[in-house]
């Protein structure tokens, strides 16, 4: 029997973060996603312990101002793409600049400088990643996936999928399921 799971990444991250802070007896207030305010001063020792505890989950404390803003851009994009409850009716450039309070030009230059890719390409990459997850789960048709990810048509999704990965959605599905069968035979 195979079970499939659906994750709410934001909720998972937030819970892990809060639990770890509590375990380390650190008093804090949650300011926003991925941002907390410490209510008491913590020692260098405490901070090291906290960072070690978090590194297990690949959570890092972001220190540099530029990295913080880039991380906020990524979080906002992930929220836009992955979170079903966040419906964005405006263009993503407008949404990002409204949410983060900087001009899109500034955000997009900063993003390219730090990540080697553009905001547009990053959004496409994340949407295609989400499409891949949905394709593998096999409980939605390609039409439904296109609708869920705000593509105007299946053709548009398929074309962007092919342009981004070099393979078609159906070839992707076939390869992944054959690979899983292959791995099971060889384990």
């Amino acid at each position: 029997m195979t079970l499939f799971f659906k994750f709410d990444f934001n909720a998972i991250c937030q819970i892990v973060l809060e639990q770890t802070l509590n375990d380390n007896d650190i008093k804090f207030k949650t300011v926003g996603f991925g941002e907390i305010e410490l209510l008491n001063k913590i020692s260098k020792d405490q901070q090291d312990k906290l960072e070690t505890a978090l590194s297990k989950y690949h959570i890092e404390v972001v220190e540099n101002q530029k990295s913080i803003l880039v991380q906020k851009i990524k979080d906002t994009i992930n929220d836009m793409v992955f979170n079903e409850d966040t419906t964005v009716n405006v263009k993503s450039s407008v949404y990002l600049s409204d949410t983060l309070g900087h001009s899109y030009g500034y955000l997009s230059n900063l993003f390219s400088e730090v990540t080697y890719t553009s905001i547009e390409n990053f959004i496409i990459l994340q949407k295609i990643e989400f499409a891949k997850q949905l394709i593998i789960k096999q409980d939605l048709s390609l039409t439904e996936i296109a609708f869920r990810l705000n593509y105007s048509s299946v053709a548009h999704l398929s074309t962007q999928f092919k342009n981004t990965t070099g393979i078609t959605p159906s070839a992707f599905q076939r390869i992944i399921s054959k690979r899983r069968a292959f791995n099971q035979e060889n384990n």
Partner: protein
Amino acid sequence: MQEDYINIILADDDEDDRLFFTDAFEEIKITTRVKTFNDGVYLMDYLNTDGIQLPNVLFLDLNMPRKSGLECLREIKQNEKFNDIAIAIYSTSASEEDIEKTFIKGANIYIKKPSDFKTLKKVLSEVVTINWQYHTNSMNKENFLLRF
């Protein structure tokens, strides 16, 4: 702290291809360290050495003397310590059968060797950039398939 360069390895028996490959990386924006090996035996000996820094992306030619790219792929996939390496097949062949077979056996990327330097640079730059996104954003490597 993340390192600010990407480790690349190529195993290819063709000297010209190795040269084009290293030259191409010298001209792209992301800082890389490139190591090359002449065949699969040298490659696997190196990868199995204790204490070395494993590559972020490993490019494998399919047809090599002594140990082929497919044999290397099989050995790498059987060893958990290599799980984080993205495997790119770098081959003159682009038969649909070869492509699908290597993907099923665990390759992440399939590149048909471009015939001109400009395309090579563009393709390698894209591979490294996308791999960088998977790496820095903890994305699911299992779904990482890319073909050029």
